[in-house]
Amino acid sequence: MNVDVKKKTMILGIETSCDETAAAVVENGTVIRSNAVASQIDIHRRFGGVVPEVASRHHVDQITLVCEEAMNNSGISWDDLDAIAVTQGPGLIGALLVGVNGAKALAYAHQVPLVPVHHITGHIYANRFVQELEFPLIALVVSGGHTELVHMKEHGSYEVIGTTRDDAAGEAFDKVARTIGLPYPGGPEIDKLAKGGQPTINFPRAWLEEGSLDFSFSGLKSAVINYIHNEQQRGHELNHADIAASFQESVSEVLVKKTMIAAERVHAKQILVAGGVSANSKVRSEMERAANTRGIPLSIPPLSLCTDNAAMIAASGTIGFLKGMRADLSLNGKANLAIEDF
């Protein structure tokens, strides 16, 4: 299908799929008019990870505040909105329900169309705030919940060609961080620690079957834990910085190689990287180098747009809106949701 991306649209996005309560207004799918995020990182840190019930409760506490901030800072009124876009899934079901029901109440109150958004497509469309998408493209979405290679032939068309068979890459970061005593969330901490170390330990790379674009990180995670355990038993002093650097090296090598194979396979004109793990400095630099070598333009959103936010939901929702995707008032949140349906 053909999407007329030149038509002017104003979309309010709402995102509550995990531990960020967020609302944003986006113009034309490319310009952020406002972007309000209430992060719960500090709240979940003491639990060592996101607790779904706690997250859901905080979403109820923050939802009107972020919507108010987003609308006030956007410079537009409810009458100027073309649609409200909301993350329908995937994510924590209790958390999703707050955003979905809140969006339905707003859409009904103002008689504005409601557009359901797949969270991963949001991460992909965060790139559109940096530069226009060029098709066909390959998007690597890596976060605490996802590790997916998505092939896009045009706006609003998604095909998953590789996914993790066990842990998400970000999950592996969190677990390894916990094992070496780093606070939650582990990703940024490992990144920091690795800067002072060398990749001296040869942790495994899971390439899976010949030609497979799938990922597996549970073996790597176990290898790191076993290594630490063995060293401790032998009475060796652990070099945490080297462990972090070696682990990071292993993750980024697999992510980068598989992304390049995918890009070559579909003759991609662009490579996108999105999701929380794309904030990792090693992943960023290795991806840049590999893409440069192959002469394929690479786009990674700025750090602030890598983590969950509602501007990206509004950006993807803009495409959904132009494609004619609509939800009625019976829209429900879904913990699992196929990206191909969006």
Binding site: E53, S56, N101
Partner: protein, 228 residues
């Protein structure tokens, strides 16, 4: 005053539209939950049938709990967002107080409760005084055995109102002071919610209005226990 009342705190989903003088419409189901799918369409349908535009509402009244955490969040989120965005008043009412209204004219105490698993119930104690239902014991999370022991000391007949007699009816009938509500009395009515919501003061800070869960999230409780 045009009031919209919403209750999805438990199995029953109730929506009502009323004024001080009149119940304009009421919608109640007591079957499948699925409140997330059904609540917003029910609100839209009822308002349309009684020919009231959302903007013509003056106040939104919501059952604030106790009850199912998910159910509470659905009702409270929709009530909050509508009240906030339409600049209307918001009122929260105890979910147990709504059920207690069905015990009006009972000569004794009224004890609505909801099953809360692990032998516990969300329970409160009410009675009729000067024509109105007033609270005698605050809503609480309690072991049903302890609750029954406390009530038996009061030496008064107690009318139990609950949708959970399948689970607890047999136990209750072993207590001589216990009277079990009829099926129609056990279902909270959104029109009653609207009526008592009209009499209460609206919340001052809509942003931070939250369900009355009456129980910490499990992870929070464990974390607090570990700090001691």
């Amino acid at each position: 005053m045009n009031v919209l009342a919403i209750d999805t705190s438990n199995l029953v989903m109730g929506v009502a539209v009323a004024t001080e003088q009149k119940v304009l419409g009421e919608l109640t189901t007591n079957s499948k939950k699925n409140h997330s799918e059904r609540l917003m369409p029910a609100i839209a349908e009822l308002l349309e049938k009684v020919a009231i535009q959302p903007i013509d509402l003056d106040r939104i009244v919501v059952a604030e709990g106790p009850g199912s955490y998910t159910g509470l969040r659905i009702g409270v989120t929709i009530a909050k967002l509508m009240a906030w965005t339409l600049k209307k008043e918001l009122v929260g009412v105890s979910s147990l107080e709504i059920v207690a209204q069905n015990g009006r004219y009972f000569d004794g105490l009224i004890a609505p409760f909801f099953d809360a698993r692990r032998g516990q119930v969300f329970a409160g104690l009410y009675e009729m005084k000067d024509g109105a239902i007033v609270q005698v014991v605050p809503d609480q999370l309690v072991l049903i055995k302890d609750w029954l022991a406390e009530l038996s000391k009061l030496n008064k007949p107690v009318l139990f109102l609950s949708n959970d007699f399948d689970k607890w009816g047999e136990l209750l009938r072993t207590y001589p002071f216990a009277v079990l509500g009829e099926s129609t009395q056990n279902v909270p009515r959104a029109a009653e919610l609207a009526r008592i919501g009209i009499q209460k003061k609206p919340v001052l800070d809509i942003h931070h209005f939250l369900p009355a869960y009456l129980r910490l999230a499990e992870a929070e409780a464990k974390w607090l226990a570990k700090q001691e």
